[in-house]
């Protein structure tokens, strides 16, 4: 009986540890991709800003308009 109860205890430990490690891997994936997305968004914003500034007519600048 003790041997069997020991196996149940091992089973619970194995499941607990495995679930923790598996979720850790999933969390890492999320973190990596959150970082990558952020980088992509900021890079896209920079490109947009550069495109906007270069396509703006010269006389539309506030200083020159006045």
């Amino acid at each position: 009986m003790e041997y069997f109860l020991g196996s149940v205890k091992i089973m619970l430990i194995v499941y607990g540890l495995s679930a923790f490690i598996a979720m850790l891997v999933a969390g890492i994936i999320k973190l990596i991709f959150a970082g990558i997305r952020r980088q992509r968004v900021s890079a896209a914003a920079k490109v947009d800003a550069a495109v906007n500034s270069s396509s703006m007519p010269a006389n539309s600048e506030p200083g020159k308009a006045a």
Binding site: S7, Y15, M23, V25, A26
Partner: protein, 401 residues
């Protein structure tokens, strides 16, 4: 003229005549079973890549028993129990499959090579669609791997033997081989054979389980393809490198398996074509071929007549059945928590028989609704299943070794 003893010439028959009736019966049954495996493999009922070489090996080894000396019988295929260096040196020069067995099978190398091949043919991008959900489903689909452990102990197996047979619930052949080689070397042959036998049956058995547990209108739920983000090769490689390093750091005992799997993924994503072609072709198919052949050759009557085999057959099917049920329950939990937009059939793909269970899930969904496309999500759960199986194997081995 000297009298010719025909039984001395036809030693396969002579050893049958001289053997114990139980051994003779087992040899005949295994020869017929081997032939049946070849037939069913060629027909497509069982997995042909494993079953054809396994069937040929099984029927040949049981037919080709001869007198090795005046009193001992055996074969000149291989001796799985040779371990003393001098004895090993002798058999390496006599048994024709001994070099492959000693240098690739008994040290787990062949399992790692198969794993590397699986890595090369796996698109990790599927797993990245919804990592938490996929991992949750994969954990649910490991229910058999866990519950079979105490069941096996209650039926009289030791912890190490119980953990080895429980790994069948992960439905991952190389993993079962790796675990049983480390934990239960005495019975790793029947455990691995039981595992591969049942794994090839999942394709035939799991569709019935799905139809039993999931009504048709739920099987036909369509998944939204807009949920699938695109990932660059660099992103996939980043994930593979970090996960591999982390898992090796946490569970060094299964580092060969983790490294092989993620190396395969990295090679695929790095687009080094000669390596991709080499590993997905000659390495994967060569390893699978020799794995099947060696498993067949290991099915010698004397080895298989272990009283634990019947028990292992029962525990193996129990583990796979509970894992399948667990996977579908996981699919249902995600279905309810996602606002009933997730197809619960994907749950079966958490059982990590790559890519069989994912294909089974897709086929069942399409049979219910011809527009239902669930394969990307099923593959995600499938790949997570491989990772969770490797984690569970590593935890079992670390705790029980």
């Amino acid at each position: 003229m000297q009298e010719i003893n025909f039984l001395y010439i036809f030693q396969g028959i002579a050893t049958m005549v001289a053997s114990d009736p139980i051994i003779v019966f087992a040899r005949i049954v295994l020869i017929l079973l081997g032939i049946a495996f070849v037939y069913l493999g060629a027909k497509g009922t069982l997995e042909p890549l494993i079953m054809i070489p396994m069937g040929v090996g099984m029927s040949s080894v049981n037919a080709a028993v001869l007198y090795l000396s005046e009193t001992t019988m055996g074969t000149i295929f291989l001796d799985p129990m040779a371990s003393e260096p001098s004895q090993l040196m002798d058999v390496l020069q006599i048994n024709f499959l001994q070099p492959i067995y000693t240098f690739t099978f008994s040290n787990g190398l062949i399992a790692c090579l198969v794993f590397m091949g699986i890595g090369v043919i796996t698109d990790i991008g599927y797993m990245l669609i919804s990592p938490f959900r996929s991992m949750f489903i994969a954990l649910c689909a490991e229910l058999g791997t866990l519950l079979t452990f105490p069941i096996a102990v209650a039926m009289g197996l030791t912890y190490k033997e119980a953990a080895s047979i429980a790994m069948v619930g992960g439905a991952d052949g190389p993993m079962v081989l790796y675990t049983s080689l480390i934990l239960a070397k005495d019975i790793f042959v029947p455990i691995t054979i039981v595992a591969y036998l049942y794994l090839s049956l999942t394709y035939a058995g799991y569709p019935y389980l799905i139809r039993l547990m999931v009504p048709k209108h739920l099987r036909g739920i369509k998944m939204d393809p807009k949920q699938i983000p695109s990932f660059t090769k660099a992103e996939k490689m980043t994930f593979a490198v970090i996960s591999c390093t982390l898992l090796c750091l946490l569970l060094p005992v299964a580092a060969p398996l983790f490294m092989s799997f993620f190396l395969g993924i990295i090679i695929r994503e790095s687009d080094v074509k000669p390596f991709v072609e080499f590993i997905s072709g000659p390495v994967l198919y060569g390893s699978t071929f020799f794995l099947g052949l060696l498993l067949g050759v290991l099915c010698e009557a004397a080895t298989i007549l272990n009283p634990k085999v019947i028990l292992l057959l029962f525990l193996g099917i129990t583990a796979l059945l509970i894992s399948g049920i667990g996977g579908i329950i996981g699919g249902y939990i995600v279905y309810w928590t996602s606002g009933r937009s997730y197809n619960p059939v994907i749950g079966i793909a958490g059982v990590s028989c790559v890519p069989t269970t994912a294909k089974v899930a897709q086929k069942e969904a399409r049979d219910a609704n011809k527009f239902a496309m669930i394969l990307p999500w099923a593959m995600g759960a499938n790949i997570c299943g491989v990772i969770t199986s490797a984690i569970i194997a590593a935890v079992y081995v670390t705790l029980l070794r």
